[in-house]
Subunit: 446 residues, 2 copies
């Protein structure tokens, strides 16, 4: 069985092997604590054993619901924010055609997203599109009262019911929510929507392998069984493998060793634009898990080689407080050979007959050498190819490594207390019932 | 005349007015040096007076060329990397419908991009789309030999000529390149392509108001005259206004004052997803201008409120080495009112009758207060609305402020020596003729 691979060699001129191995025993202890549910935030470690616990029946239920939607709609709008859309978007974009919006796909609905912002023009333009299209809604919210998704759902539910009637709308709305409580659960039970449960012990940013991620991924036409198999494979591999070979433990240890040396920014880089939103998912995972108690590595991302002509100058010669983690995909899906040109004005005939990907790979290797020479430690993750299985491995790898890394940093990687601050100010400013005291206080400040 | 506005009030609990005003005389001197062309890198300050120098004839020539393309093609592929695509993409996305890819627009071609990466699958999937569509090419390269765009142009030119014949292809290809030298100039003259000139004294990241940006923006159907008018308005305003009221000088001074206090990361935030690629353009502008000599503020970006459920936790409670610059748009284009719901399970009836944008604005204000309370200095740029004129103001504001800011940092904000490092390694690895020595050396390293 081939796995995704992590290499940390190109950090060793910045941190010693000893500085990384210093975390060996500690990281093993943290991994055990995650599996046994004995560490900080252990109410929210249900995702650790999740891949091996998902049953064939659960996957079948999700797939059948996806199939029902596929028969009824051309567009599925996924309503959710944060962990309730980043995972699905990351996987769907990694597996989709780069130009899927321009392609008629009669089998799989196009997945669009709403409730991830409060832009009036975004909602207007979305509703304008939906007026002329058969659409359905997958609404994802534990409580059903989070402002962004609740607002979008109120608007789109009304639009859908007006368009196709209340009965057909019920067939096209799926709610992913709490098992027993909250506004969305109440509404779903009342209306008779198909529902799936967000487990109590899995937080948003670790929820991609629950129905939160799996349903929208299945609707887009990707193989959720293989995705879960990949995650399960990485669950087994990381739980059984020695520190020296264990990608999760090594990633957690190396980034903490680098952080201890003043490398405060981690840049996740890819050489394939389809991975752009994997980085967005990763930013939430690491930023929200570690960015607390006035510490944490700042997560950033670049798409290469594009951004070698943008952030490349900074990475090469700017402040030396950064390190880089590259995700590389060994094999392309398609084949494009560089043609010969008789005039050769562009002087590219030395590449004629080569695959485009050979040039991309030499750009990647050349960049790695250049960045290391320039003072930027470099980690590298290699996927054999971009498919459901290896994306499943990658997601679980990042999740379990994040839990270990957060424990090394000595924070609770499963809470997000800082996310409440803007919400309570917003409610106070909007004079939400129950926030009378806060409203009074905030108005005095303005 | 209303202008875009900058407010730095919410940085004053982190830096004193004196610490900002310390840069007053210096920043005025740097602005003068930019206008007089007497500072570092003055070979590349042609963009400073550019808005007021563009003639009606030049704009007419660009518009007529755009009109010719509009009549012939459904898709225009812009081939370029770095400054040769980020400006056009930023403006086009800011002004487009959020779902323009899903809308038939019989008047304006869809603009797609190529040559900004070396992804084999991206090129394959792009060519697959183009096979069934009437397309044209706008190829942008000073030299014509930069690997990424040259490769894409070689492939797409062949595809176009095979599809519509060499004669029609010539009518659909526009080259934006050097006035007299280089591979693309030679080819364009030989084939008889319509061409536009990249001025010698304007670098890529400052080129959005040359034909590099203006042609793709005109093809997408936006008003380039108003865009240039906005830039010209900001050129005049920043060159005539006292430090106290001058957004460019204040922005340059404030960010340098914050940097001196250990704020090493600037996060550009928006509350409108259409501004996402303005941030990508800004990252190149500031990262490539200032990230050198082992210094420079690290530019990052977030889309809000989306990323309040992702990077929000870090911004609120992570390491306190960040500051935030928010771009806010005062007026929406469309109107969406929040409906009443008789059951009110989601408890949003307190918002019924309000505009969605009112909620967005209270989220913005609530977030500003929360972030400042959490230790994040906050700058705010307000656009009266999202149109060509104010985007023109915004672009010029960021450019001129960047020149001043780079001079305060005491670097040359107009070179990018670090961008060569990966290229020469890549050529060595690919055994490009002329790189025999480098090839030998790099192979010994591997």
């Amino acid at each position: 069985m081939e796995h995704i691979k992590l290499s940390v060699d190109k950090t060793l001129s910045f941190v010693s092997r000893e500085e990384i191995f210093k975390f060996k025993e500690e990281s093993k202890k943290h991994l055990t604590a995650l599996h046994e549910g004995t560490g900080k935030g252990n109410d929210y470690t249900g995702w650790v054993e999740l891949p091996s616990q998902i049953t064939a029946e659960e996957l079948k239920d999700i797939q059948e619901t996806a199939n029902n939607l596929k028969e009824r709609v051309e567009v599925l709008v996924v309503i959710g924010i944060g962990g309730s859309y980043l995972g699905a978007k990351a996987v769907n974009d990694a597996l989709a055609n780069n130009f899927d919006m321009l392609q008629a796909d009669n089998e799989n609905p196009l997945v669009l997203y709403a409730g991830q912002n409060i832009s009036e023009d975004y909602l207007y333009e979305l509703m304008e599109i939906l007026e002329n299209i058969e659409f359905g809604i997958c609404v994802i919210s534990k409580s059903g009262t989070t402002t962004e998704p609740a607002l979008a759902f109120r608007l789109l539910k009304e639009l859908l019911e007006e368009g196709v009637g209340k009965e057909e709308a019920k067939e096209r709305i799926v709610a992913i929510t709490d098992e027993s409580k909250g506004a969305l659960r109440t509404l779903a039970d009342q209306e008779g929507y198909k529902t799936f449960i967000i487990p109590d012990n899995v937080g948003g940013r670790y929820s991609v392998l629950t129905p939160v991620g799996l349903l929208p991924i299945a609707v887009a036409g990707h193989d959720i069984t293989k995705l879960v198999e990949g995650a399960k494979s990485m669950q087994k591999y990381t739980s059984e493998t020695n520190f020296e070979e264990n990608p999760a433990l090594l990633y957690a240890a190396t980034r903490n060793a680098l952080y201890a040396k003043g490398k405060e920014i981690e840049i996740l880089a890819n050489y394939n634009p389809k991975l752009h939103n994997i980085a967005e998912w990763w930013k939430q995972l690491y930023g929200e898990s570690e960015g607390k108690e006035l510490k944490g590595i700042f997560p950033a991302s670049v798409d290469l080689t594009s951004d070698l002509h943008s952030m490349g100058q900074y990475i090469q010669e700017g402040q030396r407080n950064i390190f880089e983690t590259v995700i590389s995909v060994a094999k392309t899906k398609y084949k494009v050979v560089i043609p010969e040109d008789k005039d050769n004005l562009d002087k590219l005939n030395f590449l004629a007959g080569k695959r485009v990907d050979e040039v991309n790979k030499m750009a990647e290797l050349g960049t790695q050498l250049a960045h290391v020479d320039g003072g930027v430690p470099n980690l590298r993750i290699e996927l054999p190819e971009l498919n459901e299985f290896y994306i499943g491995e990658l997601l679980y790898f990042f999740e379990i490594a994040c839990g270990v890394s957060g424990y090394i940093l000595d924070v609770n990687p499963f809470d997000q207390p800082g996310v409440e601050a803007y919400k309570s100010n917003m409610f106070a400013l909007l004079e939400k019932p129950g926030f009378e005291e806060e409203t009074k206080k905030i108005k005095e400040r303005l």
